[in-house]
C-alpha cells in the first residue's frame, strides 16, 4: 500500500455506506470488465499474472471493495486514481454486459 497518508485503506474507514447501494449497478459492470481483462491471456503474461488496473472515479472502487474486500487487494496512489493490484482466480465471466461509465486502463511493462 502506498498513498497520501501512507496508511492501509480499509473499507471500515468509509462510514458512508448509503452510497454503495447507488453504485451497485456500476460495480457489477466493472466486475464484468475485470473478468474480461483477466481472462485475456496476453495481458496476464505481460503483467506476470498480477495485473494492475486504474479506476476512476474512486467511489466505484470503494464500492467494489465493500463487496469483495476479502478477495482483492487495493492500492491507492496519490493522484486519486485507484490501482487494483491483485485479482482473485475465482472471478466469473458474465457475458452480455456493456460498460458505459467506468474507465478501465491497463498498463503493460515495457521492460
Amino acid at each position: 500500500m502506498y498513498g497520501k497518508a501512507n496508511a492501509n485503506l480499509k473499507i471500515d474507514d468509509y462510514k458512508d455506506y448509503s452510497r454503495l447501494y447507488n453504485h451497485k449497478k456500476e460495480v457489477a459492470k466493472m466486475l464484468v470488465i475485470l473478468s474480461r481483462i483477466t481472462s485475456n491471456s496476453d495481458l496476464s503474461k505481460t503483467r506476470s499474472l498480477v495485473p494492475r488496473f486504474i479506476f476512476k472515479p474512486l467511489d466505484e472502487l470503494i464500492s467494489l471493495m465493500s463487496e469483495y474486500k476479502n478477495d482483492i487487494e487495493i492500492e491507492l496512489d496519490s493522484y486519486n486514481y485507484s490501482v487494483l493490484t491483485a485479482i482473485p482466480a475465482g472471478f466469473k465471466f458474465i457475458p452480455g454486459e456493456v460498460i458505459s461509465r467506468a474507465q478501465v486502463k491497463g498498463y503493460t511493462y515495457i521492460l
Partner: protein
C-alpha cells in the same frame, strides 16, 4: 494517461568536462514536443558498475543551474515521462547490465517531505518496469528511485555507490 510518447533521437556521447563531473560517459538524447514545440534533452550519465543516472530538462534551460527544478507548466508531464521511459527501455536493451537511478528534484513549491516529481516517478516506474528484470530500490531521504539490474553481479557495490554519490551531493 502514460500511453502517448514522442519519437526521440540519440545525439552523442559526451566525456566529462572537468573534475566536477564524476560520470564516465554521458549519453545524450533529444526529443521535441509536438504540443509546445519545445525540445527536451535527456542525459544518461554512466558511472562505475554500469550505474546510469537519468536526467532530463528543457533545452532552453540547459545553461541554468536550476534546470532540473523548473516547472514548465506545459501540462504534458505524462507524455514527457513516458518518452524518457522509452529511452530507458531502448538504452537497457543495448546495455543489458545497466542499472538506473533518478531523483525527483524538488520544485520551489514543494513543501512535503517527498517531492511531487518523486511521487510521480515512483508511480510510473512501478507500473512500467517489471520487478522481474529490475529490483526497485527507493531511498526516500534523497527522493531517489533506483532500478538495480538483477543480471548484474555486484548489487551491493551499486547500492554503496548510490549511497556514496547522493550522501555527498
Amino acid at each position: 494517461m502514460f500511453n502517448t510518447y514522442y519519437p526521440f533521437k540519440f545525439i552523442t556521447k559526451i566525456k566529462p568536462n572537468d573534475n566536477s563531473e564524476s560520470f564516465t560517459w554521458c549519453h545524450l538524447f533529444r526529443f521535441k514536443s509536438s504540443k509546445t514545440n519545445q525540445v527536451y534533452l535527456v542525459r544518461f550519465e554512466e558511472y562505475s558498475n554500469e550505474l546510469v543516472a537519468i536526467k532530463f530538462f528543457l533545452k532552453n534551460h540547459r545553461l541554468s543551474k536550476a534546470r532540473y527544478k523548473f516547472v514548465t507548466n506545459t501540462n504534458e508531464m505524462p507524455t514527457i515521462i513516458r518518452t524518457c521511459l522509452n529511452i530507458l527501455a531502448t538504452f537497457s536493451k543495448a546495455n543489458p547490465y545497466s542499472s538506473f537511478v533518478f531523483i525527483g528534484e524538488r520544485s520551489e513549491k514543494d513543501k512535503e517531505k517527498l517531492s511531487r516529481r518523486y511521487r510521480i516517478y515512483k508511480y510510473v516506474t512501478r507500473n512500467f518496469i517489471s520487478p522481474t528484470t529490475f529490483e526497485h530500490v527507493i531511498k526516500e531521504e534523497y527522493n531517489l528511485y533506483a532500478l538495480i539490474n538483477k543480471n548484474h553481479t555486484e548489487k551491493n557495490s551499486i547500492l554503496n555507490e548510490i549511497d556514496y554519490y547522493y550522501s555527498n551531493s
